[in-house]
């Protein structure tokens, strides 16, 4: 492979203390610490955030409802993990919705973590399950919250919709006629 891109990291963002972490997008970075900083710059300037997680994209194991119904499962050996470890469980509930935090399970491989998640949270029945080892996540620290997320709240910005470009163009065209 001649891919010179940096590795990909998934970004999860918490909008307020009581809200679940939701998947917000992806950043490239040379390592996970830079990924957290890049995530802040790319995703936390406009929307509000109180905390952020980044995790290597390769650490995320996903299964769809359909795959599970057909009994398809990837081999555990693709994701070797030594011994029992904690996994975060996320679910996507609608095609257009972002994947959001459901809970945590303990398992010895990603496919087992999915099975454990179904056992524990199966009644929620998401379209997609995502699991990833807790140990692979870098989380913003409470003391980072103020310099990382506070300043964007004080910034005034105009929503795109506030620029009356469409109306203006219509008026200009009308005058030309």
């Amino acid at each position: 492979m001649s891919d010179t891109q940096w590795p990909r990291f998934m970004v999860f963002q918490q909008e307020a203390e009581a809200k679940p972490f939701v998947h917000n997008g992806t950043v490239h970075a040379p390592d996970i610490e830079m990924a957290l900083l890049n995530a802040r710059d790319v995703f936390a300037r406009r929307p509000q955030a109180v905390a952020m997680w980044v995790v290597p994209a390769d650490s995320i194991f996903t299964q769809t409802r359909e795959e599970l119904a057909k009994g398809l499962s990837q081999k555990s050996s693709d994701h070797p993990i030594n011994g029992l470890t904690d996994y975060f469980v996320f679910g996507k509930f609608e095609e257009q919705a972002q994947c959001r935090h459901i809970g945590e399970v303990e398992a010895s491989s990603p496919p087992e973590a999915i099975q454990a998640a179904i056992k524990k949270y199966g009644d929620q029945n998401p379209l997609w399950w995502w699991v990833f080892p807790k140990a692979d996540v870098l989380t913003s620290q409470p003391q980072d919250a103020s310099p990382m997320f506070e300043p964007s709240r004080a910034k005034t910005f105009k929503d795109q919709a506030e620029y009356p470009v469409v109306t203006m163009m219509r008026e200009i065209r009308a005058k030309k006629k």
């Binding site: 940096w6 890049n38 990382m148 300043p151």
Partner: protein
């Protein structure tokens, strides 16, 4: 020269540094080596220009000027010789190592200055400093993360960082000089010479840890903020061109 308004002179100099550094940062928009850093540098640029606005507004209050118009007047209609920024922030953006290292050197110094200003007896200034400092903590974390990664990354990144440091170091020495008005504001604002010693100690250690060698400075850079680099007139012409083409335009 007797200064009738040492505080507004001081504030305008603070603002000028931020505005010109922000302008140089903005030149990376669309040109940074990777999308994420392009966005990060655009953020730095907006933040620094925002900080400049806050200082210009305080200067306007001090002068009894209209704080909603003063920043634009200063930025778009003031002739180049009247600016009071450091030559350090005027230098062209160079390569990415150069811009990153300049940002690190400047922000590290600013951190110490803001600490001093947060404790100032001048309440409006202390309040603005506190607001700016919070955002600068994040800038510092970002640039501080890059310095060792580039200093110790590849042969090429090390070479570029060392070349950037060799060029920037003589200009950074001017941080030790008092700002306009500073000597008349003893007790209200921190002394640049004292901040410089703290700064030098911190960055020297950090740069050495990042495998970069502190150059022995031989080039003398003028510390007088009324003296500008050869690059400055073109920068100002570029910055002011659109606003001056139609001063009455509404945005």
């Amino acid at each position: 020269m007797k200064r009738a308004k040492p505080l507004s002179d001081y504030l305008v100099a603070l603002a000028d540094d931020e505005l010109i550094l922000g302008h140089r940062d903005s030149e990376w928009t669309g040109h940074a080596p990777i999308l994420e850093e392009d966005i990060a540098f655009a953020n730095f640029a907006l933040d620094e220009i925002g900080h400049a606005r806050l200082w210009y507004e305080l200067a306007a209050d001090e002068l009894g000027a209209d704080r909603s118009r003063f920043p634009d007047q200063q930025v778009y209609f003031r002739p180049a010789p009247d600016w009071r920024c450091l030559q350090l922030v005027e230098l062209p953006k160079g390569d990415w190592a150069f811009s990153m290292l300049r940002q690190y050197l400047f922000d590290s110094f600013e951190k110490f200055r803001l600490e001093g200003l947060v404790a100032s007896s001048n309440k409006p200034m202390a309040d603005v400093a506190a607001r700016i400092r919070n955002e600068e903590l994040y800038h510092q974390r970002h640039t501080q993360a890059w310095v060792p990664r580039l200093g110790q990354g590849t042969d090429e990144s090390h070479r570029r960082m060392q070349a950037a440091l060799d060029e920037l170091w003589p200009y950074a020495q001017a941080l030790s000089a008092p700002l306009p008005g500073e000597l008349e504001l003893i007790g209200v604002v921190p002394k640049s010479s004292e901040l410089f010693e703290k700064w030098k100690d911190e960055v020297t250690k950090f740069l050495s840890k990042s495998s970069l060698e502190i150059p022995i400075t031989t080039t003398r850079v003028d510390v007088d903020r009324a003296v500008h680099s050869e690059y400055f007139p073109a920068l100002i012409a570029d910055l002011q061109e659109v606003a001056q083409a139609d001063p009455q335009a509404q945005w």
